[in-house]
């Protein structure tokens, strides 16, 4: 049975629909991310789960209990904020103890739990420090310990790593994921960073304009983006305009050259459609499997360290491809004519409008 169930959740401000018909069922212990650009309604949805915003319509149930109209302090939900939101007048230990004190736990139990939680986030030595005496990463760990100390049934994280620098962000991301897995706590994570969502989540909800664009595992979202928006937002994709030659056979034409897609196309013959192609799916050498071949001219080469990113002009379109850097194979030169190879399975037709 699902642990967190959201049905037909809506939020409107005046005429503006911020969240429209949001449905999701999250299993116990699952890590779900809401991914989308700013203004897509992901944070508003999270805030409705926390109780900081009232839903215009719909229901939110946690472990079978309808919490839609409960105030935040009765939902037993832990929350971690982008701005850390540690109480500046309290030490790390006092911050962690706050929720337990509010719940009127005995002093001995509070002390034991605070020590335990600071141990879990690996900061037992900073118990006596005030927030201003800690780095951003340390503050966010204390905030996490504080949110977990009261043993909430649900953990909500609102872009918790956005304010941190890149190295700390990656380190903390892994720790956060491990901690979540060890504790088995059901978690909803809001982010605009696709790498974060892909690396941490069991499932991802990609959102745009208050709607769910796609809901699926990171593998599904990355490899089978259902809409142009998802394809463009998750990962780096080539999105190409193509003319449908034979919809049933998956035959399309780009820049005057014909290709095959392994899937049926929703459009009719003669119409234009959008297809996506991952940069890593395109190669410069022939794999010999009888896939698509296309001639083009190298327009740009960027050396990114482990990867060389090459942009190739094909008619009016541009196809970007990634190749691993190999020391004995120098990158191609601008203006060179090359043949690109990619499998029909890698050509992803995109729905223009989601039903």
């Amino acid at each position: 049975m699902s642990f967190l169930v959201i049905e037909n959740l809506r939020k409107t401000y005046g005429d503006h629909q911020v969240v429209q018909a949001f449905d999701i069922a999250v299993k116990r212990g699952e890590f779900v991310s809401f991914l989308g650009p700013s203004g897509c309604g992901k944070t508003t949805t999270l805030r409705m789960i926390a109780g900081f915003e009232t839903a215009t319509a719909g229901t939110i149930r946690i472990d079978g209990r309808d919490v839609t109209h409960l105030p935040p302090n009765q939902r037993n939900v832990g929350m971690v904020f982008q701005s850390y939101a540690l109480f500046p007048n309290m030490t790390a230990a006092q911050n962690v103890a706050f929720g337990l004190k509010v719940a009127k736990k005995p002093a001995a139990e509070i002390k034991r739990r605070v020590d335990e939680m600071l141990g879990v986030v690996k900061l037992p030595h900073l118990a006596g420090r005030y927030p201003y005496q800690m780095s951003g990463g340390q503050q966010q760990r204390v905030a996490l310990a504080r949110a977990l100390a009261t043993s909430p049934q649900l953990l909500l994280l609102d872009e918790p790593l956005s304010a941190l620098d890149a190295k700390v962000r990656v380190a903390l991301r892994e720790e956060l994921k491990n901690l979540q897995r060890d504790l088995g706590i059901t978690t909803v994570y809001v982010t605009h960073d696709q790498e974060e969502a892909l690396s941490m989540s069991d499932r991802i909800v990609v959102m745009s304009d208050g709607r769910i664009e796609q809901l699926g595992t990171p593998f599904e979202i990355y490899n089978n983006p259902r809409t142009r928006f998802v394809a463009a937002f998750v990962g780096t994709l080539n999105i190409l305009k193509a003319q449908v030659i034979d919809a049933a056979q998956g035959a399309i034409r780009i820049g005057g050259q014909d290709f095959r897609a392994a899937r049926q196309l929703p459009e009719r013959n003669g119409e234009t459609c959008s297809v996506a192609l991952r940069p890593e799916a395109v190669t410069l050498h022939d794999p010999g499997n009888g896939g698509n071949r296309v001639k083009g001219t190298i327009e740009d080469v960027s050396f990114l360290g482990a990867v060389v990113r090459i942009k190739v002009g094909v008619g009016d379109s541009r196809i970007m491809l990634d190749r691993f850097n190999t020391p004995n194979l120098p990158p191609p030169v601008r203006g060179e004519t090359v043949t690109l190879h990619f499998a029909p399975e890698d050509v992803l037709p995109l729905e223009s409008v989601v039903a």
């Binding site: 109780g51 302090n73 929350m79 509010v102 504080r146 949110a147």
Partner: protein
Amino acid sequence: MRRARILPWLALAVGVIYFLVPLIATFEFSLRILRGRYSFQAYANVLGDPQFQSTFLFSVVVAVATIVVGTLLVVPTAYWIRLKLPRMRPYVEFVTLLPLVIPAIVLVFGYLKLYNSSSILPLTAADWSTNVLLVFGYVTLALPYMYRAVDTGLRAIDVRSLTEAAESLGAARATILFQVILPNVKVAVMSGAFLTFAIVIGEFTLASLLDRPAFGPYLQLVGANKAYEPAALAIIAFAITWACMGLIQVFGRDPRTASRPAF
């Protein structure tokens, strides 16, 4: 170049003379109560006067009461406006600034009209209730300073996130206000409190027209009847105000911003 450097010093010198000479003159005059030599006799007279002690004590009590009532009124109001009614802020700010525009004499006549002994709420009928009215009047007079100070303090913290963090940890509104918000605007409340103290301790109009035995009317009484003691009182009053300002400086230094370690 040289000219440019002299001018600021000249301006400073004029300013210092303008403010300090009358003060030094007053101080010097206050020491001349005994013919032919300087002494602190005028100060001894003032401090030894039982009326000085009683009126000063009365004003201190009223000032403390004003600070307590003002804090309890202003902190929750400013907090609520920051949290839930940000659009109301300009209006509330305007209302809190009104006491600077409306003279105290207008205020007190309004009070006397509204709360006189034959009105529905005869606050001026008894001493204790007149004292209550006096405190409320002072809360109004100190409102611009108290509200500004607290609002500035609230601006320095992330009121919304702190409130939401506390709420998600199970805290009720009162707990949030007293354990999270108030301790974090303590410094601002302190500076508002000292300003309030400085205003209330020497206030004349309200106290005099409500006929309260406060320090302000005593100052006036002494000033009208004696020669050297008023000068001594003026110096004492200055000292009290300066002490308040000094205390703002001491308590106004936020330890959280005083030393930031580099990480």
